[in-house]
Symmetry: C2
Subunit: 313 residues, 2 copies
């Protein structure tokens, strides 16, 4: 895998792009022209747990992008369809990693490429200070496995994992990546949903079960409900999302959906609580809490553009 394209360079995409540029030819495919120009001109600087600087290619134009052996899609889940429909054919002879939160992005990628699709879950985290400067915070593994409906060639999974490890990040190949993906899905759907609706960052409230009104009870119930859905479709979780929640609740980290709500940009609810609601329905089990959270978030999104006049009876 000598030529790699990172689709979307937020914090996670920038971290992949910068590290992989040390071991491969990296193209950044981004949406804003000034973003592409800045990357072409100044490259990308990494700070934090590691400090280095790299140069790379970058473009906003699908026609400028050459065929690549590996793609890593690192946009928000809500932008996968738009971005991969434009460049998916560039990976027809290679492999594409889906690094989105939640469930459903692999299916969208598969619609737009004949290449191999890889199911990935990452706990890496960072802060993007500018288009050309990203700070590495949490250097945890990216778990990568096959996308079952397409019977992904496992040798390609291992090749992608080897390349990411060679670049200095951590990755692990899994014959079945769903237990990892579902652990993070349940964690993310529960924490992001409660955060978006309360306005709280991932604070100690999320693990507090001292009173009947305490938010920690709701998190526990959401996570238990998610586990029941996972069990109903035969998935044994890799990690316990409640334990993940307890650790995260010490950080006061603002989850991505809180950022979305504050800036009134479309959330990933369809891929998080909405995905759990859909999977529950397919499996014939109930998921009333995730379904309620999903509908409340969609209602919140609707409130940003609703202009109805008060018409008292």
């Amino acid at each position: 895998m000598k030529r790699v394209c990172i689709v979307g360079c937020g914090a996670i995409g920038s971290l992949y792009a910068a590290h992989l540029a040390r071991v491969a030819e990296v193209w950044a495919f981004v949406r804003r022209e000034d973003h592409a120009q800045a990357l072409k001109r100044d490259g990308l600087r990494v700070s934090g747990k590691r400090a280095f600087h790299v140069l790379m290619k970058a473009t906003t134009k699908p026609d400028e992008l050459p065929d690549c052996e590996l793609g890593i899609v690192a946009t928000k889940a809500t932008q996968v369809d738009e971005s991969v429909s434009a460049v998916g054919h560039r990976f027809n002879q290679g492999a594409v990693v889906s690094a989105q939160n939640g469930l459903g992005s692999e299916e969208i990628i598969a619609m737009h490429t004949r290449g191999q699709v890889l199911r990935a879950t990452t706990f890496m985290s960072g802060t993007k200070h500018s288009d050309t400067h990203v700070q590495l915070e949490l250097d945890t593994a990216t778990w990568i496995g096959p996308f079952e409906p397409r019977q992904t060639n496992y040798a390609l999974v291992k090749e992608a994992v080897d390349l990411i490890n060679a670049a200095g990040l951590k990755a692990e190949a899994l014959p079945d990546a769903r237990p990892a993906q579902w652990s993070k899905l349940i964690f993310n759907a529960s924490v992001n949903g409660a955060s978006a609706l309360t306005g709280l960052p991932h604070s100690p409230h999320f693990a507090d079960e001292s009173e009947a009104s305490s938010l920690g009870h709701l998190l526990h119930d959401l996570i238990d409900e998610g586990k029941e859905v996972a069990a109903a479709i035969g998935i044994n979780l890799r990690e316990d999302p409640w334990e993940m929640n307890k650790i995260g609740a010490r950080t006061n980290h603002p989850p991505s959906m809180l950022y979305d709500v504050r800036h009134q940009t479309e959330t990933e609810a369809d891929f998080l609580s909405g995905a759990i609601a859909r999977e529950a329905q397919r499996a014939g089990v109930r998921a009333p809490l995730h379904t309620a959270v999903y509908r409340l978030i969609k209602g919140k999104e609707a409130s940003w553009t609703f202009k109805g006049e008060n018409r008292e009876l």
Copy 2:
């Protein structure tokens, strides 16, 4: 009933005070000194469906208030304890009407007076333009009945109802006021909760059930859950809260809890979704959705003062 005190003069309290001042000696007991001074100096003007002007007495000092035959407590549910603890003894020989939203205010009033306690539910509505000007909008009935644990004298219920009717407002005496109170409780808990969490006023979204993600499904589920709790404790609702919701959803009216959330003032959640959650627990049935809404709103209230620094791992 020749002397009446209205405790709290927001929109509803001002409407009671102005109308009753036409047929009785009315005292307004309010919290702000400038509010009391304005009422004493300028009286109260009613506009809208009806137009008139009255003079009345007003005070912020419990010691200035004489004994009254009737009290109408019209504060927010969250302020009943503070206000009635100060003046409850002035009604020891009379009766006190609880006109709050939700459930639980009668019990608080009963702790602070030896007078008769009356359980009331009102659908009257208005807009308070200033301390001395209130606009009458919806001139619907106040339903009044006994507070069962105190075995209220029903003759007093009828006397209060007669006085309110003589004043030009609508009131109806009910041997059991709980079916009316619970109809409004379920309606209010569901609509206020969804509004506070989404930021939407009571808009058409609340009755829309066209998509799996539609908010109307959540309202339907919340209302059905409320009905199940009512049934479990033996209450036959007077009106169907779902029908009330469908009508209200045409108005784009901002419910009181949306106002509270926008202004970051304590909500009535303990008396609405919290009350349904508590009653469900007492009856040994489940109310997962109202319990979830309750915890989310308490979490939202907590977010207004939470100052935790982001401590990434």
